[in-house]
């Protein structure tokens, strides 16, 4: 091949090619940026507009401007407070359980199953499954009359329960199904984190006679911190948007015990046909998400 320097390659082709080549960095980025702008800016602006109006279910009636009225309702609406509390309880309990189980399992198995990738993939199956399929599976298991869980309770000599239909057990039932589906996620990320730990500090610690408990607190946990931060935040963001499991398992009941924010917003927007108020609640959720994800992104920068 003839000698062709960088300058030569730029000079090749017609003016169109040269222009394309010069602006390539913008041209390659443009479609994604434009699509995402259209798909996020429009909804956000529209939400603000909708949130300050009362929107009648009748499309022929004009929207009535109510200013901050919908936001004021957030403070006085007891249903919203119930939904908010349920979401917070679900998020804290489910993510904590998933974290403890996932980390514990990863620590225990790290030394023994490193090479069994098939086994790992089998354990990963729950989190890949469609949430709706997971929901109907657990609905079948929880079924009070012929469900398999009550059969197990019976065999163990324990009282049978209504599970998802019981006022006190409904949230617990949702949490168990979520823990079943998402513990593998924490487990997988923790295993990846553990596999990338440096060896030398542990050798030094072992020489100094540090107990394995000390090694865990002083070495393993600090090294895992970036991975833990990412795993927890992704889980928290996901838990905040919980919808499918509740929709199928309990529909928010009994007695609103499992009514979470996503479900309440959905009900207000469609069943009660009050999109203006639903928009105000969505903006609240968006605000919480932005605060959390900003924090998350700061952690990501640390991890890079």
């Amino acid at each position: 091949m003839l000698q062709t320097g960088k300058s030569a390659s730029v000079r090749r082709g017609g003016p169109l090619e040269q222009w394309t080549e010069r602006h390539l960095r913008y041209l390659m980025l443009a479609p994604t940026v434009l699509i995402l702008l259209a798909l996020t800016i429009f909804p956000s602006v529209y939400m603000f507009y909708a949130a300050v109006h009362r929107i009648s279910p009748n499309p022929d009636l004009p929207w009535e401007f109510v200013g901050a009225g919908n936001f004021a309702r957030l403070i006085s609406d007891p249903q919203f407070h119930v939904a908010l509390r349920n979401t917070v309880v679900f998020t804290i309990v489910a993510v904590t359980l998933e974290f403890l189980l996932g980390l514990g399992l990863a620590l225990l198995l790290d030394r023994f199953i490193r090479r069994l990738s098939f086994l790992k993939t089998v354990l990963m199956i729950p989190m890949m499954l469609p949430p709706i399929a997971v929901a109907i599976t657990w609905k079948l298991i929880y079924e009070p009359q012929f469900g398999v869980l009550n059969e197990i309770m019976f065999l163990l000599g324990l009282p049978v329960q209504a599970w998802a239909g019981d006022v006190n057990l409904a949230m617990f039932s949702i949490i168990v199904a979520d823990v079943w589906q998402w513990t593998p996620f924490i487990f997988l990320l923790m295993l990846a984190g553990l596999a990338s730990l440096p060896v030398e500090p542990y050798e030094a610690a072992a020489l100094d006679g540090a107990s394995s408990w000390r090694q865990f607190w002083d070495l393993t946990l600090p090294f895992l911190k970036p991975v833990i931060a990412i795993a927890l935040l992704l889980r928290v963001m996901d838990a905040l948007r919980l919808f499918d499991l509740v929709f199928i398992l309990t529909g928010g009941g009994p007695a609103d015990r499992t009514k979470v924010l996503s479900l309440y917003i959905y009900q207000v927007a469609y069943r009660f046909a009050d999109p203006g108020y639903a928009a105000a609640m969505s903006l609240f959720v968006l605000f919480v998400t932005i605060v959390l994800s900003t924090w998350f992104m700061k952690r990501m920068r640390l991890a890079e």
């Binding site: 960088k6 479609p31 995402l36 429009f42 790992k120 109907i136 990320l189 072992a206 924010l261």
Partner: protein, 286 residues
């Protein structure tokens, strides 16, 4: 992890034993629900309602598969799910790969690279419940409710940022020298991307595409709001539609639910090497 030399051998033995026990329990707990939905999909109604439950179907039948996929439109739902997933994946991976490459390789004025990267990530974080109201009103206005195109547009909103970050992460792992060599040899910048970087990133491309397929296939809330007709509804909506206030068609939804899981399990095995990166949006390299 480094070797933790414990004082006694017994303790090491106990630890190993508890690890095996933990694997066994975890495997049983993981697989039983999946087995249970599959087992029930092959039972006659009377056996589904049996007390005590039939642990293994005694009279296996394909009746519910016939009900769901022949008599009721679940095949149609599955096809809709598939078409929407393919459409979303093609759009997201095509544009996401280009954007991911640009963000991994090019420099921009005023820290745009960083700003745009994080802005794209933040769009991925947006909960779907936040966008359903404007999307519903938008598609209603343009008469696009109950169309697969509307679903593809809605799903692209969260698959495109995902694909961008995944591909950015893969391109950052590739050595830039090969592309530089191609340019020195007379290739254009675009040519270096197409002829050198893309072929090297093929495993990453495949993994990203499969993740997009899974995410779209599993999606429920947006489809619930946007589609109301058989011609446009996806599999999860079809399944949820057979769980009514008055009765639940257990056999039918078990059959459809199990069939919804089968492709996902196959996909999971195909991307097993990329799972960690895919699930952490490229942040953790497993």
């Amino acid at each position: 992890m480094a070797t933790i030399r414990t004082r006694s051998r017994t303790r090491e033995m106990l630890l190993r034993l508890s690890a095996y026990l933990a694997i066994l329990v975890a495997l049983i707990l993981t697989l039983f629900p999946v087995y249970w939905i599959a087992a029930n999909s092959f039972k006659f109604d009377i056996d589904i309602f049996a007390v005590p439950p039939e642990w293994v179907p005694r009279n296996p039948t394909l009746k519910h598969y016939d009900e769901a996929f022949v008599q009721r439109p679940f095949l149609r739902y599955a096809l809709n799910s598939f078409l929407v997933a393919i459409g979303t994946t093609v759009i997201s991976v095509t544009f996401g790969t280009m954007a991911g490459y640009a963000l991994a390789r090019f420099s921009y004025p005023w820290q745009w690279r960083k700003q745009i990267s994080f802005w794209i990530l933040s769009t991925r974080m947006m909960p779907p419940i936040v966008s359903i109201i404007p999307l519903y009103l938008f598609f209603n206005y343009f008469d696009m409710l109950n169309t697969k195109s509307a679903l593809i547009i809605a799903y692209t909103a969260f698959n495109l940022p995902f694909a961008t970050w995944m591909m950015k992460s893969y391109f950052q792992d590739l050595p830039v020298e090969l592309e530089e060599a191609a340019i020195v040899d007379g290739d254009t910048r675009w040519g270096a991307f197409v002829h050198v970087a893309l072929p090297l990133a093929r495993p990453g491309l495949a993994a990203t595409a499969i993740f997009c397929l899974i995410i779209s296939w599993n999606e429920f809330l947006l489809s619930l709001v946007i589609t109301l007709t058989e011609q446009s509804q996806t599999l999860p909506i079809g399944i949820a539609g057979r769980v009514t206030q008055y009765s639940t068609y257990w056999g039918e939804i078990s059959a459809a639910g199990f069939m919804a899981c089968v492709p996902i399990v196959i996909f999971a095995f195909l991307v097993q090497k990329h799972l960690v990166r895919g699930l952490s949006l490229g942040a953790v390299k497993g």
